[in-house]
């Protein structure tokens, strides 16, 4: 008689998976819950300390990764209210140009221009998007896709804000620790802040708008106000990334509105897992360093990059993070079947 083997999967106790109150009875259980949250935080916070070992090049990659991750998390917040945004570059560019302008024309130092850039950029983007908040799905996506391109052309033709030359020789960040820790901390704040927000009662309303906006409206809730607030919060995260990168590069130009800043966050979110906030972050930490590693292949880089991306998305349509999460909560063992 042939012996077959079969993989058996068991969920770890409901205790650990439920989101309600439960008793933690041992260190093992506490670690089981804490480690997946604490380890990435510790890793992120300790990466900048390793700058002597990994070299300045990879530290640069870390900063760019954090900026893209911020945009991806901001994309995810909009997605969880049902707004598919193809224009993260709008937030990024608005923050970048505002910070650059404040520094270049008014001579404000970075520790003022970055917060002002983040808030002002978010206000600006929200005002631009207010008229289209009524649109849903693909219609909202198209408008957000065109807005950053429109602004880039506007700057090019009117020659304001440096025109095609951009604004250069901006103030650098005070020192390397600021350069490394500001984006890391901003990312952690946004990641855990948004996760918390979406599970509060306020966040339930946001999720309700995604699932059925008519029912939310007939619950006497002004959905446009909630949408505007969500756009503003996502805008702060995105514009912060832009304002920071302006001072990091000491330059701001039309590339701040480039399509890359719209497409890359979206790709990170899809790869990492939409709607989890951690997913898009994981996605950014895979894609951006991957693109750097592949530089060794020269022109073929894009081919390998795209191939890996396609394989990942076809193989793990739910996203990397939900997959890891599911596996973490399961035992797997091989059992004999007769």
């Amino acid at each position: 008689m042939a012996v077959h083997y079969r993989k058996e999967r068991l969920d770890r106790g409901i205790k650990a998976r439920s989101e309600d109150i439960f008793a933690l009875s041992s260190y093992r259980e506490m670690l089981y819950l804490l480690l997946p949250r604490a380890l990435p935080v510790i890793a992120l916070l300790s990466l900048p300390v390793l700058k002597g070992i990994v070299g300045l090049y990879w530290e640069k990659v870390l900063v760019i990764t954090c900026a893209i991750a911020l945009l991806a998390v901001s994309w995810d917040l909009l997605a969880s209210i049902g707004l598919v945004c193809l224009g993260q570059a709008l937030f990024f560019g608005a923050g970048a140009y505002l910070a650059g302008f404040l520094n270049h024309s008014l001579g404000l130092p970075p520790f003022l221009t970055i917060p002002f850039g983040a808030l002002g950029g978010a206000v600006f983007s929200t005002l631009l998007l207010l008229p289209v908040l009524r649109l849903r799905g693909i219609y909202f996506a198209i408008v957000t896709l065109t807005l950053p391109l429109l602004l880039a052309r506007f700057i090019e033709t009117t020659k304001i804000l440096g025109g095609t030359e951009g604004l250069s020789a901006l103030s650098p960040l005070p020192n390397i620790w600021f350069e490394l820790y500001i984006p890391v901390l901003a990312l952690l704040v946004c990641l855990f802040g948004f996760r918390r927000l979406i599970n509060e009662d306020y966040g339930l309303v946001l999720q309700g708008i995604r699932d059925n906006d008519r029912a939310v409206m007939s619950s006497a809730i002004n959905i446009y106000r909630f949408k505007a607030q969500a756009v503003f919060m996502a805008g702060v995260a995105g514009a912060f990334a832009g304002a920071f990168m302006t001072h990091y590069y000491q330059f701001v130009g039309m590339p701040a509105f480039a399509l890359d800043y719209s497409v890359l966050p979206l790709t990170c979110a899809v790869l990492g897992g939409v709607g989890t906030f951690a997913g898009p972050t994981v996605g950014a930490f895979i894609l951006v360093p991957l693109s750097e590693v592949l530089r060794a292949f020269g022109t073929l880089r894009v081919v390998f990059y795209s191939a890996i991306l396609i394989i990942c998305i076809v193989g793990l349509p739910e996203g990397v993070f939900p997959f890891l999460q599911r596996k973490y909560h399961q035992f797997e063992r091989v059992v004999k079947v007769e």
């Binding site: 009662d201 309303v205 999720q207 309700g208 699932d211 409206m217 007939s218 619950s219 006497a220 809730i221």
Partner: protein, 252 residues
Amino acid sequence: MGNETVLSIERVGKRFGGVVAVEELSFDLRGGELLGVIGPNGSGKTTLVNLVTGFVRPDSGKVMYRGMDITGKMPYKIAELGIVRTFQMVKPFYRLPAFKNLIIPLYSPRVKKLRGGKYGDRDDVAIDLLEEVGFERDSFVPYKMASSLPHGYLKRLELARCLTLRPDLLILDELFSGMSMSEVASTLPIIERLNGEGLTIIMVEHRLRELFRIANRVMALNFGRKIADGPPGEVMESESVKAAYLGTEAEG
């Protein structure tokens, strides 16, 4: 509640392309009335609900609510005034547990105003409300995911969502469709009680037997026009209603 006019529809019309959904429709609704709206499919019942609740803007005519013109106002503004509706096609927030579905209306400014700012834990309020519409607390039905609930429960979840807002005028769009006999039997007393407490209700319904039992006035529509309006007994006997349901053209 007195007998003042709550809702007054004045010569309202709406067409979708070439299709006339509602035409020259006028009626008044008094406080405390339970008005049943009947009619064959496509007779404009749901359009009427959409016109009153602001989801559809009328081409002509006026919708007055307690002396206030509410024609073409935003749906959330109308809901905030207390005109609350259920949807014929239930679409709850599937990814949430049943009681979390009620957090959304509980978060609205109307509830905040009525309950006076702070009113303790929204979760408890939500579970109490669900118990009122027959979600058995003891078997943890309110905690189940909305996606795992049977259709009858979802319909009652929809009713609970409306009751959360403490409506002044409740509009039920085919609440009973898709419900089992026993579910209808347990939901009817809830509606009768609400009406008994003075709540004005409009019920759009296909289940005529149940409707005629509890309604104190019935209006029949056909092709967007009013063909009968009066006490249930009269409407049931009306020739035009019989004709609309059974058809006459084939004979002639």
